[in-house]
């Protein structure tokens, strides 16, 4: 195990008025549990506003969690608690092991830095390869590793296409030889024809570098393709979690089922859109409904759902669901 989150919460204060008083909270994460193992891909799937991006940023400690615990186990099997203000060195250590690839390839690279500078920055921060020649060689190696040419070091990001930039992003994440990478919708801004290239690269790296991924996406098919285990999120909470195959083949939660059905099928002969019935829109995370967050739209809603929040409970060894339908 590399990292484990228990009961993680993240609330964003809504500031209003002249002195920006807190006027409420956006409850982006509500009691999320997860763990990520070595050389494993944990897929997080859900629609916009479900908290998946927030979760990714809490895990990388861009955000400090509002509640819950976040534990990190170092390669030396030491346990670090990351949920609160942490020792600078520990955090740095953690950062080195835990990297991130972002969604938008056009904003994830500083437009004023050359590719060389961008790849050099993490090395400088962590004082890896202080020898300049070694460092330059390493940077060239990284570029080749992600399928780019070493002579790109002197160029600026704007000279590259989206797919190439995403490769640079990956190279930057790889530079510190991390144990895990959080991929926040790494392909959603890319053209369809390029998306596969990036997915293939990530898969390849996983095998060759023994990488673990925390893979965030709204695309169920993509999540299924890359993940070992997945978590389905809705309104800050985990609805369903488990082994990818398990979840896909024995979809249990009503939300996951609706989600599955909503994906347009690439077969004009099997049109299915008119068969789904999901009314309404997700409620606001500022005022989440009482009980199960999905109760306002759930086709199988019961009285109990409106009062009590179901907990994530295992229905098989590798599969848990948070739904009163499965409360035995």
């Amino acid at each position: 195990m590399i990292v484990k989150g228990t009961n993680l919460k993240k609330y964003f204060p809504i500031r209003k008025g002249i002195f920006l008083q807190t006027a409420g909270h956006v409850k982006a994460l509500e009691c999320v549990d997860f763990e990520l193992n070595e050389n494993e891909t944990l897929g997080i799937v859900g629609e916009s506003g479900c908290g998946k991006t927030t979760l990714g940023r809490v895990i990388t400690r861009i955000y400090t969690p509002t509640g819950g615990t976040l534990e990190y186990i170092t390669p030396e099997k030491k346990l670090l608690h990351l949920e609160k203000a942490v020792d600078k060195h520990q955090l740095k250590r953690f950062r080195r092991d835990f990297q991130m690839v972002f969604q938008d390839p056009f904003s994830s690279l500083d437009p004023r830095m050359t590719i060389g500078d961008i790849l050099r920055e993490p090395l400088d921060v962590h004082k890896i390869y202080p020898n300049q020649r070694e460092r330059d060689e390493y940077i060239e190696y990284l570029l080749e590793r992600v399928g780019l040419y070493p002579e790109y070091t002197a160029r600026y990001p704007h000279e590259f296409s989206g797919g190439q930039r995403q490769r640079i992003s990956i190279a930057r994440a790889l530079a510190l030889k991390p144990r895990a990478i959080v991929c926040d919708e790494p392909t959603s801004a890319l053209d369809v024809s390029v998306q596969s290239q990036i997915v293939n690269l990530l898969q390849e790296l996983k095998e060759q570098e023994q990488m673990a991924y925390f893979f965030i996406s709204h695309d169920l098919d993509l999540i299924h393709h890359v993940s070992d285990r997945i978590m389905v999120m809705y309104l800050g909470s985990v609805m369903e979690a488990g082994r990818a195959d398990e979840v896909f083949h024995h979809t249990s939660h009503p939300y996951t089922r609706v989600l599955m059905k909503s994906i347009p099928h690439w077969d004009p002969k099997q049109r299915k859109l008119d068969k789904i019935h999901l009314e309404g829109e997700p409620p606001s995370p500022i005022n989440p409904p009482k009980g199960c967050p999905f109760n306002t739209r759930c086709p199988e809603v019961m009285e109990r759902c409106k009062k009590e929040m179901p907990q994530l409970q295992p229905i098989t060894d590798n599969h848990s669901v948070a739904c009163w339908l499965f409360d035995d």
Partner: protein
């Protein structure tokens, strides 16, 4: 969105004709003050009793219809017995040709080496001067004084803006990046300071400068006073930019690789606002130049023997002066020219950079 901002700005800027004209004028003006000692035919402080309020010297080219090159005639000062007005009578017998690289008052070029070579002039003569813009009440050469005065006016705006921009950028960046209480406090403070009217605040601040300071220190003081007000606008703009940049993923990326906040601000945030800073600076320099001239005009700014365009214009304060010695208004034209050029350049830059106009109203 694609494409390097600077490149795009540069390209778009050069389409802006007024901007280019402004840029050329500015370059000429700054070259002018850089070589002011050399370009000025006289030392700006040297007084000539016999040429007080002498009108701009007429340059003649022909003598008795015959071309003999540019020259001026000797002048004799006399006073009207009734009105006591000074009159100058030219003496066509005395001809002083205008030459280039002529010897005149000595000066230290850039404070480095002493020389007495001036680009053009008629040399030091007792009964003739080459005063292109006329003389002032001590018979000093207004042309030379405008050149030297430009040093104060043009650099005060520039340095003031520089200071303002540095302070504004740093404060704005910290305010925007850290957010929270730091931001609230800074924003309220800026709002408070901005609710003071600009010129009265300038005056009140200018009054703070101990009048016993030597002119060079007063100059610095004025620059600081000017920048004291300028930084707030910059800070607001930069804060706004940083607020949006902060959400950019490359800032998050820098956090993730463990970069320190300070370095994120200095290495990523501020450099990415540089183009905006240039525009903001260009747009705030005119205000500063006008501010300096206003303060000096009221006598609270630069003082003799130093001089600035505002101070020179102070001489043209009275209607009788304007009537009798209209050339004293020439420094005003230079103020207009410089400010206009900065405005053109600034506007062109803004147009080029910012189709969405976040840097309006600094």
């Amino acid at each position: 969105m694609k494409g390097n901002t600077e490149l795009r700005v540069r390209k778009a800027f050069f389409k802006h004709k007024l901007g280019i004209i402004g840029m050329i004028i500015l370059i000429l003006l700054y070259l002018m003050i850089l070589f002011a000692d050399f370009l000025a035919p006289y030392n700006y402080q040297s007084t000539k009793r016999d040429f007080t309020f002498s009108e701009p010297t007429k340059i003649h080219w022909r003598k008795d219809g015959e071309f003999i090159g540019p020259h001026v005639y000797g002048m004799t000062k006399s006073r009207d017995p009734v009105t006591f007005a000074v009159k100058y009578v030219k003496d066509e017998e005395k001809i002083y040709p205008i030459r280039i690289f002529v010897r005149g008052d000595t000066y230290k070029f850039w404070g480095l080496w002493e020389t007495d070579i001036h680009l053009f002039g008629i040399g030091l003569q007792d009964d003739a001067v080459l005063y292109l813009f006329g003389g002032d009440r001590f018979g000093r050469d207004l042309f030379s004084r405008v050149l030297i005065g430009g040093r104060v006016s043009l650099t005060a705006g520039l340095i003031g803006t520089l200071i303002a921009v540095v302070i504004g950028a740093v404060v704005g960046a910290f305010s925007g990046y850290y957010g929270g209480w730091i931001d609230v406090v800074i924003q309220r403070l800026i709002e408070i300071l901005r609710s003071f009217p600009r010129i009265p605040l300038w005056l009140a601040l200018a009054m703070l400068l101990p009048p016993t300071w030597p002119s060079t220190t007063v100059y610095l003081g004025i620059v600081i006073v000017l920048s004291f007000i300028g930084w707030m606008g910059v800070a607001r703009v930069i804060r706004g930019m940083v607020l949006s940049l902060r959400e950019k993923e490359y800032i998050l990326a820098a956090q993730v690789i463990g970069q320190s906040n300070f370095k994120i601000i200095t290495k990523h945030l501020i450099p990415n606002t540089v183009t905006y800073l240039v525009v903001v600076s260009t747009l705030s320099i005119p205000g500063m130049i006008l501010g300096e001239s206003s303060i000096s005009f009221l006598g609270l700014g630069i003082k003799e023997p130093m001089t600035s365009w505002g101070l020179l214009l102070k001489q043209a304060q009275s209607l009788s002066d304007i009537q009798a010695h209209p050339w004293l208004m020439i420094p005003g034209l230079f103020i207009i020219l410089a400010v206009l050029s900065f405005n053109f350049v600034g506007d062109a830059l803004r147009d080029a950079l910012d189709p969405y106009r976040t840097v309006d109203k600094v």
